[in-house]
């Protein structure tokens, strides 16, 4: 009889107790998987940020505008490979609760600057440049609303009105794009800045912010300083930062999500650590006499230690692995419904590996005390105890 058989026989000797412990471990790892996936999605902006990309926003706040004339002045700076610009449209579809991420961009430069993130078919690229009322719609947005390329969709804005008083822009879907990296969210659409600028009624020739690629990440600091100095003391001062830092600060605005996740996961783990740890101590104590017999048969202290630790680790893995699998299924099922709010919600291989490491650590932690007690057990006492 090898040790593994012995371990699993021991574990399932009291079936009900084993099942209850497995269940509570499963719950803890389910919570861990879901929350870790949530947190990762939340910080996805940091992960997808390109190392050579800078964001230029109005120094007062990124909701304040910049003049369009800045774009060409930034483009002329040494170290700048390409620059593009955005306007937040405040879009929604049919009713305000159907909030959409819609931005007005300069087609050519937008597609150049963001080619590392999104993949656009050639015909869609050409159509977007050519068609004045055209929009490119991300794959996941297209799927979510059941739109097709070639559809004309009425998009409303809660910020802008057209000169004719209408709040609706009829936009033609000329193509769609897909993500080049797994964490890139495609739940947004872009329309032509020129069309937007000519039709909307609030201030002309203003842009929301600029994004640019530098010639290399080592040029970032120099370019950022040069931009902010160039516009210092003007009516519109700028603040330039890396895309990564910008996305991080943006995510932090919602609150300390990482801390919240850590507290909840911590509470869930503390719970099972106590429940399972205590049950393990009890289970081993009940088997004192048997351990005495094993020792009499010649099992060494070290082997007994391994047996008990192995039992605890096996328990953690048998409970934890289905827990993580369940979390992955849950995330996959939720992707369409929460995608708008937290894009990229998924249990990644990285999270799963972390979880497995935690399971082993957890098993060792709950098994350690009873294992040491069993290892040190004196045969005479063990057999004497009733």
């Amino acid at each position: 009889m090898n040790d593994l058989v012995l371990i699993s026989k021991n574990l399932f000797r009291k079936k009900l107790r084993a099942m209850l412990m497995l269940f509570s471990i499963l719950i803890a790892f389910l919570i861990f998987g879901v929350l870790a996936g949530f947190e990762r999605a939340f910080n996805a902006g940091e992960d997808v940020a390109a190392a050579d990309r800078l964001m230029v926003v109005n120094k007062i706040n990124f909701t304040q505008p910049l003049p369009i004339a800045y774009v060409n002045r930034v483009r002329a700076l040494p170290g700048v490979r390409q620059v593009t610009h955005f306007n937040w449209f405040g879009g929604y579809y049919q009713e305000p609760k159907n909030f959409l991420i819609v931005m007005a961009v300069d087609p050519e430069t937008y597609m150049q600057v963001y080619q590392d993130q999104i993949e656009i078919p050639v015909d869609a690229r050409q159509a977007f440049v050519r068609e004045r009322t055209g929009v490119l719609v991300g794959e996941s947005m297209l799927k979510k609303w059941g739109w097709k390329v070639g559809d004309r969709v009425p998009i409303m804005s809660n910020i802008f009105t057209q000169k004719n008083g209408s709040r609706t822009w009829d936009l033609l879907i000329v193509g769609s794009f897909t993500a080049r990296k797994p964490n890139v969210d495609t739940n947004f659409m872009v329309l032509q800045y020129q069309y937007f600028n000519e039709t909307q009624n609030l201030g002309r020739d203003l842009i929301g912010w600029m994004a640019l690629n530098t010639t290399s990440p080592s040029a970032n600091d120099g370019v950022a300083k040069a931009i902010d100095q160039m516009f210092a003391n003007s009516l519109y001062e700028t603040a330039t930062d890396t895309e990564k830092a910008f996305n991080k600060a943006f995510a932090a605005q919602l609150g300390n999500i990482a801390l919240m996740v850590a507290l909840v996961v911590g509470a869930a783990f503390a719970t099972i650590l106590m429940i399972v740890g205590n049950s393990m101590v009890m289970a081993i104590r009940e088997r004192t006499r048997e351990i005495g017999v094993l020792k009499t048969l010649g099992f060494s202290g070290g082997r007994i230690l391994r047996l008990v630790l192995g039992e605890a680790v096996l328990l953690a893995l048998l409970g934890g692995l289905p827990g993580i699998a369940l979390a992955a299924l849950f995330a996959a099922a939720m992707e369409t419904s929460v995608g708008n709010f937290i894009p990229g919600f998924a249990v990644t291989p990285g999270i799963a590996l972390n979880a497995i490491a935690l399971m082993v650590g957890f098993g060792l932690a709950t098994g350690l005390i009873p294992a040491i007690a069993a290892m040190r057990l004196n045969i005479a006492t063990a057999l004497g105890r009733s």
């Binding site: 269940f23 001062e237 605005q253």
Partner: protein, 396 residues
């Protein structure tokens, strides 16, 4: 009947007295349930605190006027001509001089630095006219003074000061090329206005290039019912494509979005954790029944019924759950009551709020704890009641 009750009481007492024998196992159940309660209550306290901050902001007798379809102050624009028309609208209260109590305001977003994370966050800068403070009730300068008209001076809400740095009295805050001095700190009954920075409207308009542009109009109504008259007036005039709401309704809408979201995260999480704790409770109670098998069988042998054994076990479980629930509630109160936090509100700016527990929330959490105790005690109690006497006596 009486002997039966005595039996129940006697067995329950035995159960309770035997709890210290399973001290660690019982403690782990209590702690597991306590942690479930802590998680649930901290989410509920967060949602409740946010909601309280926003709902205390809105008055029934203040109307807020936004550009049609704009939903939030930040998206809205109102032209000077429209403000003039509104000044003549019916239903608006007037001050001693007969001027309408109406405040056209500008709502801009500026950067502040959050103390906790040292990252930039969106703060609202509100340009208000002379009627601005009068339209709102309960505005009080608690330190320093109000800004002077025409000066680059700001007053800062008390809550904002707590979460963001560099806004103390006397500090100079640069917004682009203009520099502003903090001259006062104001209170607003714990409302969302305490998360704002206020300055003189014309100064904000000129320094931010927004001459003659307003974003919202607030008006004090003669009575809450006067909203209808104002609404009809606006609807009837084609030049006024504006939405009219009571301030209370406006903030209630914004509050529900965020606090619903927090609750939608908190409840499923807590219930999932409660299932984990339930497994622990079942484990503990089955152990309890197993440990007392001989005792229960003995009692049955001398004539006690099965029902007292059932009740005894169930009560033990409920006591553990109640202890866990109380412990969790006390821990949450100590750790989180009044805990200050801030998040992005509907107007895309930070709203500072405090976690707030209420008796109703604590009762909800205690009910969840007792539900875990009940479910965790039921099956073991049934086993105790049905324990065959002979097996129990020969068991150990």
């Amino acid at each position: 009947m009486r002997p039966f009750l005595l039996q129940v009481a006697a067995v329950t007492l035995i159960n309770i007295k035997s709890m210290p024998q399973r001290f660690w196992l019982s403690l782990s159940t209590v702690m597991a349930i306590a942690l479930v309660v802590v998680v649930l209550l901290s989410f509920l306290a967060m949602a409740n605190g946010f909601q309280q901050t926003l709902t205390s902001s809105g008055a029934d007798d203040v109307a807020i006027v936004l550009r049609g379809g704009s939903q939030a102050e930040i998206n809205s624009t109102v032209a000077r001509d429209q403000v003039r028309l509104l000044e003549e609208a019916p239903g608006i209260a007037r001050d001693a001089d007969g001027k309408p109590l109406l405040s056209a305001e500008l709502y801009l977003v500026v950067d502040g630095v959050k103390r906790s994370s040292q990252t930039k966050a969106n703060l609202p800068l509100r340009g208000i006219g002379t009627a601005g403070a009068a339209v709102r009730k309960g505005i009080r300068i608690v330190e320093g003074r109000m800004f002077n008209t025409g000066a680059n001076e700001i007053v800062v809400g008390k809550a904002l000061l707590r979460e963001f740095q560099g806004l103390e009295i006397g500090q100079v805050v640069p917004f682009a090329t203009s520099r502003w001095t903090v001259v006062g700190i104001f209170e607003a009954n714990g409302s969302v206005f305490e998360s704002e920075i206020w300055a003189d409207l014309p100064v904000v308009q000129s320094l931010f290039n927004r001459n003659n542009i307003f974003q919202t109009v607030r008006a004090r109504l003669q009575t809450p019912a006067a909203l209808d008259a104002l609404q009809r007036f606006v609807d009837a005039d084609p030049r006024l494509k504006l939405d009219v709401k009571s301030e209370a309704a406006y903030f209630a809408e914004q509050a529900s979005q965020t606090s619903d979201l927090i609750q939608k995260l908190g409840w499923p999480l807590s219930i999932t954790m409660a299932l984990g704790a339930l497994a622990g409770a079942l484990n503990t109670m089955y152990s309890s029944v197993a440990a007392r098998a001989a005792e229960i069988a003995t009692l049955r042998a001398i004539g006690f019924g099965g029902f007292p054994a059932f009740i005894g076990t169930l009560v033990e479980s409920l006591i553990l759950a109640a202890l866990g629930g109380l412990l969790g509630s006390i821990a949450t109160t100590l750790a989180f009551q009044g805990f200050s936090a801030s998040t992005l509100g509907a107007s895309f700016t930070q709203v500072v709020f405090s976690f707030s527990l209420s008796p109703a929330l604590v009762i909800e959490a205690l009910l969840l704890a007792l539900a875990v105790g009940f479910a965790g005690g039921l099956l073991p109690a049934l086993r105790a009641a049905r324990l065959p006497i002979v097996a129990g006596l020969s068991g150990s």
